[in-house]
């Protein structure tokens, strides 16, 4: 789970020696947006281990998406330490952020697919960007589309798909690079109950194959039925972190 990076020294962080299995580590991370009165994240500390399936819940505006942006380096914290997959973000050069993002799969509520590209092209794009060969693309894209249950839809455009199918494309795009970590920010927010469950099952399957999954969600049902680790965030703070959590707010 070491991330290749030109400049970042993977073993620099002292935390790394504490527990080699920790893939996501946040230590007293604080983030205040410009002009905001209160911090969006206020001293958040978290460890997530390899192969873990963790759910992050919290009210709207609690800071869940901000947490995700910390991981993808879309935003930088004002204080605190972040180490993901052995990369200490303090030593991460801005130029290496794209490399970092290729190592973390991200899925959003609004899918973020390219509307003028087919399902196949949307997924292939992910590999093209990271410089995989055409042969690898030809081999891996159909395989991952099969895995997410989209065989036969290769030539469809996103607008021709249902919400659930679109989210599968997004998941396929994130997973085709075989990242060690998948973060999904309310992936079922726009889906009905049936599709929500299909997507959750897909995430569980991905987790079973060995990927660490962090699922950000509002859904009480998911939390209650999954019986897995639940981290609750409120007003930028971790207010509870339980191995088998029920929903509480």
């Amino acid at each position: 789970m070491l991330l290749a990076s030109r400049r970042a020294e993977p073993f620099q962080s002292a935390y790394f020696y504490v527990k080699i299995d920790i893939v996501i580590l946040l230590d007293r991370v604080t983030k205040t947006y410009a002009k905001a009165l209160q911090p969006a994240l206020d001293g958040v500390s978290l460890h997530i281990q390899a192969r873990e399936f963790a759910i992050i819940v919290g009210a709207s505006g609690a800071g869940k998406s901000t947490l995700l942006k910390m991981l993808t380096r879309e935003e930088k914290p004002h204080d605190g330490k972040i180490v993901v997959g052995g990369i200490d973000y303090d030593t991460l050069d801005d130029r290496d952020i794209p490399l970092l993002r290729r190592k973390i799969g991200v899925v959003f509520q609004d899918f973020k697919l390219l509307p003028n590209r087919t399902v196949y092209e949307n997924v292939a794009l992910s590999l093209e960007i990271s410089g995989h060969s055409n042969k690898e693309i030809r081999q891996n894209v159909p395989r991952i589309l099969e895995l997410v249950g989209l065989r036969g839809k290769e030539k469809s455009f996103p607008r021709q798909l249902s919400g659930g199918e679109r989210q599968r494309v997004a998941i396929a795009r994130a997973m085709v690079r075989q990242p060690k970590i998948l973060v999904a920010d309310e992936p079922t927010g726009n889906l009905d109950a049936h599709n929500t469950w299909e997507i959750v099952k897909l995430l569980l399957k991905i987790n079973k194959f060995g990927t660490t999954v962090v699922l950000i969600t509002h859904s009480q049902e998911i939390v209650n039925r999954l019986n897995t680790r639940v981290i609750t965030i409120s007003e930028g703070k971790v207010v509870s972190d339980v191995p088998h959590g029920g929903f509480r707010q």
Binding site: E74, D94, P98, K112
Partner: protein, 350 residues
């Protein structure tokens, strides 16, 4: 095969070391090769995205390409026109000579003497002498279809005087502006003073032509400056328009760009397609402008040739067609690339 000698172990060690070194070198080479292949792959992908974007917003594309075409045509026309004018003036200057007239009875010996004196002046490039009889023949030859002239000639012949035309020495100069030495000899040399035909001014018409040519050259300078000024202005206009086109393209693809960034696209993937797109405007405009430019040349050069010198320019443009086309493409590429780089730097911050 070499025999193992007693000091075997160290040798084996060295061999192992060398093998390891070779292996490392090979791995390094493979890595370099892999990197190179990856870069080429990325480049072709970026090109493909650029091409795709190019065809996505037809109206903007057409407008940007049209402006660029006009700009390139203006540059083309300015260069061709100044080449034509230059050539014409040069030819006129070369044609321009000084004609010195001598009395009809000047003997050939004297003319030879006079010619010799002119020849030694360094600024004189050539001297051409023709005596009274030669001039007469030339006049008859030149006017044999002019009935009135021929009648006047025969009338003069029948009156017993004959036709007395002055002898002429034509002098060509290297530097047509520097007539001092020739003027000096004409006005001060005794032999010249004796034989020169004072009824005929030596230098007036030359001076007039000289003045005309100088005026033409002045006009040409102004015209050239106007041409290059217009070209410069249009270069700026097309940079602005392409800048704006790319800016609008960036805004209309904001979401897409954010998405690409989110899944780890680096600057080459984000900016590259826009650069390719703008460079494509340049290349297409260059192809169109070159075609139009050459069509116009084919259309107008022959008829222009009746008034001005076109030979050299025409030959050059035909002989160096590919060079001209390449130069146009290069200019188009540079304009497109500059505008896109400006837009991208301004609106696609990392």
């Amino acid at each position: 095969m070499k025999k193992l000698n007693p000091s075997g172990p160290p040798k084996a060690e060295i061999a192992a070391k060398n093998a390891a070194k070779a292996k490392a070198a090979k791995a390094h080479k493979q890595r370099l090769e892999h990197d190179r292949r990856r870069r080429t792959l990325t480049r072709t992908r970026v090109m493909r995205y650029g091409l795709r974007n190019f065809s996505r917003n037809m109206w903007l594309t057409v407008a940007a390409t049209a402006v660029m075409t006009i700009t390139l045509l203006i540059i083309f026309a300015t260069v061709v026109a100044s080449s034509l004018l230059n050539e014409t003036i040069k030819a006129q200057r070369q044609k321009m000579d000084i004609s010195i007239y001598f009395r009809a009875e000047t003997s050939d010996d004297t003319l030879r003497n006079l010619t010799g004196k002119l020849r030694v002046i360094p600024n004189v490039s050539s001297v051409n002498t023709s005596n009274s009889d030669d001039e007469y023949k030339k006049a008859v030859d030149a006017n044999k279809h002019d009935q009135a002239y021929m009648e006047a000639l025969s009338l003069a012949a029948s009156s017993g005087q004959g036709m007395q035309l002055p002898a002429v020495i034509h002098v060509k100069l290297h530097d047509t502006d520097d007539r001092a030495a020739v003027d000096e000899i004409i006005t001060n040399d005794a032999l010249f003073k004796e034989w020169i035909d004072h009824a005929r001014a030596t230098s007036d018409d030359v001076q007039i032509r000289q003045n005309t040519l100088n005026r033409l050259a002045d006009i040409m300078n102004v015209a050239q400056r106007v041409g290059f000024g217009a070209a410069g202005l249009f270069v700026v206009i097309s940079i602005l328009i392409i800048f704006n086109t790319i800016r609008m393209a960036i805004f209309s693809r904001r979401e897409e760009i954010d998405m690409m960034k989110a899944i780890g696209a680096d600057q080459r993937f984000i900016r590259g397609p826009f650069l390719v797109e703008a460079e494509l405007y340049g290349v297409i405009a260059a192809l169109v402008a070159t075609t139009l430019g050459y069509l116009a040349l084919m259309q107008f050069l022959p008829s222009l040739g009746r008034y001005i010198e076109v030979g050299y320019t025409q030959e050059f443009m035909i002989q160096w067609f590919w060079l001209v086309a390449l130069a146009m493409i290069a200019i188009g590429l540079v304009i497109g690339s500059i505008s896109a780089r400006l837009a991208v730097r301004r609106y696609l911050k990392p």
